[in-house]
């Protein structure tokens, strides 16, 4: 840990921020369902997912804190939209149940390949965190993959809705694999997973499952249409206004 170059340290901080932000924003979107799911059992399942995601966000923020002494709550509740590094896929409103579960599936599949690869990192705190999260993540992926099956192979209506979600989400997913500044170098050094190697693995497994569920995967956009992680959708500031409102309303507060 002490022998990280300043550049490596900065890039790790950036990646931990991106990891945390993806999870935090997804937890927020999933949290909107609690109390409003189509069956009571899924209120419980969604609450589980959202808690695990929030837990992951905390873990990544703590890994960042070890590197720069930052405060996880201040980062979650005090940053403006332009300082976040989440992917736009996670920012979109929860939509209908098909939208929510498809996003969950695409993201869970991404997280699984990322965490699997991260177990080989030469940075021990990352290795350990990845190992631990991967156990939860496998359960998430099972749950969302099963729902895609139910929705894709359920009724015409459920297939139509899931397909519509896929049209929007598939091109957005490309942003998950855009490296952060300096990340390619850290991948070459074995500190971080190599996103360009993960993408085909993710694509193979998601395509296969989506196809088996009767869904057709749309084309990717052109390479120049893929945005870096500092480019956000207008959904993000809207989400943050709600998420951060209470925390920011009383700037003198030291404890919430």
């Amino acid at each position: 840990m002490t022998d990280l170059t300043p550049q490596a340290r900065a890039t790790l901080i950036l990646r931990f921020t991106a990891l945390a932000d993806d999870e935090l924003i997804l937890a927020q979107r999933n949290g909107e369902w609690i109390g409003h799911a189509p069956i009571l059992e899924e209120d419980i399942a969604l609450a589980n997912l959202a808690q695990d995601e929030l837990g992951h966000a905390e873990t990544w923020l703590r890994l960042r804190a070890e590197l720069d002494g930052s405060d996880p709550d201040a980062l979650a509740f005090g940053r403006d939209a332009t300082e976040f590094r989440c992917a736009q896929l996670l920012e979109y409103p929860r939509g209908d149940w098909a939208f929510t579960l498809l996003r969950q599936f695409l993201f869970d599949a991404y997280e699984s390949v990322w965490l699997s690869a991260a177990r080989a990192s030469s940075y021990r705190p990352l290795r350990e965190a990845a190992e631990k999260m991967l156990r939860e993540e496998r359960f998430h992926l099972q749950h969302s993959a099963l729902w895609i099956q139910r929705l894709g192979l359920g009724t015409d209506e459920s297939r139509r809705r899931t397909q519509a979600a896929l049209e929007l989400q598939w091109p957005l997913s490309a942003q998950l694999f855009v490296p952060l500044p300096g990340e390619a170098e850290l991948a070459a050094q074995g500190l971080l997973p190599d996103l360009s190697a993960l993408r085909p693995r993710w694509e193979e497994s998601t395509r296969q499952h989506l196809g088996a569920c009767g869904l057709s995967v749309p084309a990717w956009g052109a390479p120049e249409d893929v945005w870096s992680r500092d480019q956000h959708s207008p959904h993000l500031p809207e989400l943050l206004a709600e998420m951060q409102g209470v925390a920011r309303a009383d700037p003198e507060a030291v404890a919430w």
Partner: protein, 320 residues
Amino acid sequence: MSMTTAQDPRLDPRLEAFEARIARGEKIEPGDWMPDEYRRQLIRMISQHAHSEYVGMLPEGEWITRAPSLRRKMILMAKVQDEAGHGQYLYHAAETLGATREDMMDALLSGRAKYSSIFNYPSLTWADVGMIGWLVDGAAIKNQTMLAGCSYGPYSRAMVRICSEETFHHKQGKEMILTYAAGTPAQRRMAQDALNRWWWPSLMMLGPHDQDSPNTAVLSRWGIKLKSNDEVRQEFINEHVPELLEAGLSIPDPDLRFDEASGNWIHGPINWDEFWAVVKGNGPMNRARLEARRFAHEDGAWVREALAAYGARSQAQAAD
């Protein structure tokens, strides 16, 4: 038109044995003989209780997206999840008596079934989440601890499990309000304002005074309700008043006083008109809560249909 004349249930020879079992402190279990009225009262109480957990997800659930720290957000999600879980146990407990989930859900969504009056009050600030934990869960625990000793096994066991989780929620709510009561001026104001709005509804949620509570006598004979509403309310007040005062908050009851002789805190008169209005369920908030439940239910219809279609398909394939 049915012309059958039911035998007076009080003459059923099995009744004596049943009441003797209860007197000995035995639990009645699903397969056991029980008077129809015992079954009816239990279904009424347990399903109302289940509905209360289900609707009760809403006033706090609205604040999940606005919780001001990672820790509070996590705690709140876990809490609302627990409420969903409690709803599940309780619907199951009512099913052991022959009620069906569909019927119960239909009764709720059509506005026929009742649920706790407390959930028809809105949560207006973040401190409400803490105050609900401290007062509403505090009052619920008093009631549930009593019900944990009730004569019907599945209900009693559900109560034991629920109580232990509620105790956790109660502690968290109290800790939250204590933090704010010792916090910035804005936090203190928010905590006091939440107490002003939730104090009386918390007293009322424990039900009408004994003389106005029609079901108490039979429920008590059959070991369903082991204490009266007023007894439970007194326990709640005696525990919470000193703690609230110690937190530096003031209780919105000018008549509240400590009675040396009984060792009880005596509250002023309760506005039962408000209570009955809320229980009757015509107010705007009741409508909003049921709208939210109905909306979620209707909005999820296509999902449940897909689930059924997928299930049928999988079964058909398995049979091939």
